[in-house]
Symmetry: C2
């Protein structure tokens, strides 16, 4: 019998009724002759309300204890889902992270799976049980309960599939992977398939369907990941190895990220020491920099721009104040209505001219861009958020991303 790992996110198990619906969906697959492993997240907003309780105890709760607390969310949903299988007459067992042998290391609240001791899962599959595994959690060397950080349940599912060399299906509240976020561009094309590399790039650029880590793991072990909607029967998207059927397209998708703060430092005397000082200061304040650009020196002075997350707003102000004292004469300004727009496509590796094409489209539509960076399979631009919709519409038409 084939083994299938399915993962259902928090929205999919958000109520008792939804848990029952998920149980029925799993049973359908089981009845087709598959051995089923089901990974679930915490119900709906459970994790958030647990974190709210923790914050009432301490503004900065101990991270080991936060993992202990938050991991109860998945434990509740696995128990309830397994009860539903029993109720429908199917043998089933729920397993917490430690019972499923999910070993992790790293820092509490953002651990990584190092290995899975798959014995217990296999034993229960062999006994004919539907095995329900708590997503997002594991156990470390000390026997502490750990959690995996963002997108952790997806990672649990892909890691289990990798260990068992079986199919992996991620069910969520979106229909699959779109060329462009359909909330911004409703006519966006849904992809039948996308390569791991493109999906990782899109995930890290903020496409939001799946976290980069889970896709990375699928890539590493070559496990195709099928992403589809929990309810209904619409076809989703397969994330898999790049192959010929995907060729012929230069651009696969376009991603958008509004969580951008752009900082510009003007009037910097052109010495490498000065530039280094700026970035040292930023690093000291634990600010993660994304894009960097620098003007050519003019009369011995340059302007430097960089972007970071809006989460770092306060840290940026602190860093800017210190810099203005330490490097007299510079001016620091901050813009927040900035969007990062990226075009992604593995085809770019073979075909040039994408940057030029985009520049032309921007120019034809009077869209000013502020910065450009490139990776092997993507090009990113920062633009004013006010130009976002116009840019998306023009690019989607021109780059064949419309359904």
């Amino acid at each position: 019998m084939a083994v299938v790992v399915q993962k259902y996110g928090g929205t999919s198990v958000g109520t008792i009724e939804k848990i029952k619906a998920v149980a029925k969906k799993v049973i359908e697959r089981k009845e087709q002759g598959n051995e089923m492993i089901v990974v679930v997240s915490a119900m709906g907003k459970t994790t958030d309300s647990l974190i709210t309780m923790a914050k009432e105890i301490s503004p900065n709760p101990d991270k080991r204890e936060l993992d202990m607390l938050v991991s109860t969310g998945e434990q509740i949903s696995i128990a309830l889902l397994s009860m539903a299988f029993h109720e429908y007459g199917y043998n089933s067992i729920s397993l917490t992270g430690f019972q499923a042998g999910i070993k992790t290391d790293g820092l509490h609240t953002k651990n990584r799976i190092t290995d899975i001791d798959i014995k217990n899962v296999k034993k229960n599959l062999n006994a004919g049980r539907i095995v329900v595994v708590a997503g997002f959690q594991g156990i470390n060397e000390n026997g502490d309960i750990t959690t995996l950080g963002r997108g952790g349940s997806d990672t649990t599912a892909v890691a289990l599939a990798a260990k068992l060399k079986c199919a992996c299906e991620i069910y969520t509240d979106v229909e699959g992977v779109y060329c462009v976020d359909p909330r911004v561009y409703p006519k966006a094309k849904k992809l039948h398939s996308i390569s791991y590399e493109e999906m990782m790039e899109m995930a890290s650029l903020g496409a939001g369907v799946m976290e980069t880590r889970a896709v990375e793991l699928g890539f590493k072990y070559n496990i195709p990941i099928y992403v589809a909607m929990t309810h209904g029967n619409k076809k989703g998207t397969v994330i898999k190895e790049y192959d010929d059927t995907m060729e012929g397209k230069v651009i696969t998708g376009l991603t958008l990220n509004d969580d951008v703060l752009m900082i510009t430092v003007n009037n910097v005397e052109y010495k490498s020491k000065n530039i280094a000082r700026i970035f040292d200061k930023v690093a000291k304040h634990n600010i993660n920099i994304d894009m960097i650009s620098q003007t050519a020196p003019f009369e011995g002075y340059v302007n430097v721009s960089f972007t970071c997350s809006t989460d770092d707003n306060y840290s940026i102000d602190a860093a800017a104040n210190e810099l203005q004292t330490e490097i007299p004469g510079i001016e620091v300004s901050k813009e927040s209505d900035i969007t990062k727009l990226s075009v992604v496509g593995i085809g770019m590796m073979k075909q040039s001219g994408v940057a030029a094409k985009v520049f032309n489209i921007f120019s034809d539509n009077n869209i000013e861009f502020k910065q450009v960076t490139t990776s092997e399979i993507s090009i990113s631009y920062t633009i004013n958020t006010s130009d976002k919709q116009k840019a998306v519409n023009a690019l989607a038409e021109a780059l064949d991303l419309r359904a």
Copy 2:
């Protein structure tokens, strides 16, 4: 340094504010030079609401999964309490049942502790941490999460104290052990101390302060158990070995139980086979019988009465219907406004005449009793519930149970 195990019940950790108050109380004891282990129950009504969810999935949820579900309640409270210690600047670690090495066997939802692998608790105490242990839960041979049934957190606390041969303190929402339930008799005396045997008898007769199993464990390992109120500083009650300071009193306490159904079978032809048939039938319906009485045979016929819990109401009706078909001529009647009143005292072992004294008090106050049973250290009576208050007042005065 002395080790102290403290246990706080669900009401005591029912809100974030109460958790903080418990943390401060524990820290006070720690600052007096003690190593602290704190056992906690689930917050307030958490367990009930988890069970409600389970019942929405299934009227009779799988018991292993119910343990998996319900055990999250304590896991939430240990994490929050440990966070509070950290917030107040104390090193602390929370441990679930399995992390604390609490090994159990038996049926899911009513397991028993078989042993405690105390290594992890000791290691963390030695590291100077306040160790917070989830009450009510453990792990069985299969690695399944288990729960201990009623009063389980008290049992966890006493078992830990027994393993470490240290003091055990149970904090709750009552001030200690009273001679008589203060809700029925507000002038009741609070006991400074009570023997294990008397406390077990009172617990099994329904005194409600502590479950029998936890007291039994204290008795077995001779661990004095101090029971007191969580908030405030009023002196509580020590449950300990019977000693001379407790002597001189014949009656220690009086317990009441309204959960009584009295069944009377009239016109039973006096043959041992007939009596056996009645109790066989009752056993077949899984009805637990408490008190039994039988009238002397009169003209070849007897009447038999017995009591059971009101939980068995439906089963009794079924058993009665079957009996009336199988033994023609008998009449079965059922009374529900019945109270079981028991007087308890280890002194009764040495001094006779208690029964006579109680009979006289009943007679002086026109209280009719229906049945009497005796154990080594108690005598129990069934009376009409309408006579309960009068009986309690009279007995408390006469037997010196008034404060």
